[in-house]
Symmetry: C2
Subunit: 389 residues, 2 copies
């Protein structure tokens, strides 16, 4: 009975397509916690924090939506505490949209997997070895507790390489689980007064036939958005682009498309060109903490001796706090001296760069000049000169 | 010849005493880069960065002057680069006053000491074993290169315990070196258009006779300010207070007094009560990175299990970003999860607390209620309830 009042809003996520340019799309996701312009890059807040950056700084660098990891948050600090805190947004001090993954990816990659069965999956926590079970229903329940604006279905992310038979069986399971997630969602209600939507995940490894079947089956179930999973897991980049293009060709125009875990600036632009709207990746934050800065002229590793006396900013054209305030020589000094401030400034800069990139892509799409803009940007970015790692 | 135009400004630091309450003093240091109200706590930026906090955040938490370490900066990144960058302020992105120590303390505590002679001291870098020499003249030159607003004389900080004869000889050396630093300063000029002042350092271990002689000799040389060094090095806290009181009783009213490397909130209040104006200590930043938060009700270690579900802020009365935005439970989660954001927020909070403490002390002095205010604050702070370390 308590669920009935919410039946009307479970499909309340609105996605508006403002412009297209070829297959590239400029749109906006409307959530109860604000609008997200697309294409958009989502910084990754695995454990309820984006590493080395404050929530107020995430706004400053242009973040509009964060990604949270269901697997990590459910193990620590646990959903009980997050519910008591009034949901994930209040707990982590971020009032804007959050997308949570289902935990499937981490169960299959991080935990000690104890067995998968048609009903769900048993695993041991990578933290303390405790045994847990995820089912399609339980991951929806967890995401209800978290209160994310966009929830993801439980999927099996097949490893790469995997044979066609495995990929097919795995995808069948993912499709059945998606349906069960959707049912669970319809039977439950958001806890914090803001509606939550549910995205399905297209799987099928690098097999076009399985990907097609996957996408069609999920589209027939009419989800509020669609992710393309199981890419950027080791396959050749051309396979990634081909599968992405195949999927976006099937997915409905009116729904947002999210390419999970991708990627480099080049990967993101090529995927926008193929009709993807949303991205997440640890690359800008992780590489930043490893002294690698993304710039409009390619990546640089600030530890390189050639920056020792370079008093120019990381990227002349960048307007972030790090570039407005500090020199390459100073940032190199911070990394050489193992100062935490170096990690902070690298994170601010790299996220600014990624969010600048998707914002500029959006402008170019709206102005029907995406292809030439992309070509011009890529000619500067690739080959990624100055990469020293 | 180039030095002559500056002779008129080498004593240009102005210290204004606004109010006293007993021995406690409320004043202000005027530098070319801004005014510093006293009593004041100076965050420590050892290697050209205060650990885990951005310069703009230092302003936000109330910092008015930073401490930089000559020894560290001279070894890495070196004065050549800092001169090329236009001085330390520009290099580190901090436009406000900086005080630099002389490096003496680190030479005697950090480096592999190779020998002290009447002219100076040879040491091996703790970073790479390279051999260096500090003389009274060279440390003034280095501080000219750094461009700090307040420079310190080269001193020998005697270890504790040390016998009276050692303390006496060591202090004689420090006094002679102070005179040479002063001469060098008068022969040289600031490099970046802002005047620099020089503080002497009273030494003499815990021996009242030597401390008196030290203070009197240095006062006779008429420095622009006076530090009390060689305390907080292991001596009983009552000895520290007694020596501090002895020194401030001799030092001129019209000059600022700086108690080096002190200390706990209680130490700071007790020393303000004895006439000290300036403090520096790594305690708020270092303890913060170790999960210890200072609050108006004493210290807490946020890792303690009793904070696991505590949704209150660290300190209800604190107005810092961390306390306005996050709960104890969240901060505990960050530390348990080894998130860098925990270090950032602890640093913001603890520095806010220290700077609140000295600002409140100033107000209390101006309103002639320092003693009752101090008593009331200390009754909450000490014994430091909730300390779990």
């Amino acid at each position: 009975m308590i669920f009935l009042p919410y039946l009307g809003i479970i499909l309340s996520l609105k996605f508006t397509l403002h412009n297209t340019d070829g297959a590239a799309r400029a749109g906006a996701l409307q959530t109860d916690r604000g609008e997200v312009p697309t294409p958009i890059f989502m910084p990754v807040g695995t454990q309820g924090a984006v590493k080395a950056i404050e929530p107020r700084e995430l706004r400053e660098v242009g973040a509009r939506i964060l990604l949270g990891n269901t697997y990590h948050l459910c193990l620590r600090p646990g959903t009980d505490l997050i519910e008591r805190a009034g949901g994930l947004h209040r707990f982590i001090g971020w009032d804007h949209p959050i997308l949570t993954d289902s935990g499937g990816y981490q169960v299959f990659s991080l935990s000690d997997l104890r067995g998968i069965d048609p009903d769900g999956v048993n695993f041991k926590s990578h933290l303390d070895g405790s045994v847990h079970r995820f089912t399609p229903e339980s991951v929806v329940d967890i995401q209800r507790s978290l209160g994310s604006d966009v929830m993801m279905v439980l999927d099996e992310c097949a490893p790469y390489p995997c044979d066609e038979e495995y990929a097919s069986r795995s995808n069948d399971l993912t499709v059945r689980w998606a349906d069960r997630c959707r049912s669970r969602m319809e039977q439950t209600a958001p806890l914090y007064g803001a509606s939550q939507s549910l995205f399905a995940i297209v799987q099928g490894s690098v097999y076009p036939g399985i990907r097609q079947a996957s996408a069609r089956a999920l589209v027939a179930m009419d989800f509020e958005g669609y992710a393309i999973g199981g890419l950027s897991v080791g396959e050749p980049v051309e396979a990634m682009y081909a599968i992405t293009e195949l999927c976006t060709g099937i997915l409905p125009e009116a729904k947002p498309r999210y390419l999970m875990g991708v990627g480099t600036p080049q990967n993101i632009l090529e995927s926008i060109a193929r009709g993807v709207d949303m991205f997440d990746c640890v690359m800008p934050t992780r590489n930043g903490r490893n002294a690698t800065f993304f710039t409009r002229k390619g990546k640089i590793n600030i530890r390189n001796a050639r920056f020792a006396t370079d008093l120019a900013p990381i990227d002349e054209a960048c307007e972030c706090y790090a570039c407005r305030t500090f020199s390459r020589a100073y940032l190199r000094h911070l990394f050489k001296s193992q100062e935490i401030l170096g990690l902070q400034l690298a994170t601010i800069h790299n996220l600014s760069f990624y969010l600048w990139l998707t914002a500029e892509a959006r402008k170019a799409i709206c102005e029907k000049r995406f292809a030439p803009w992309q070509k011009s940007i890529l000619s500067e970015l690739v080959p990624e000169v100055g990469e020293d790692e």
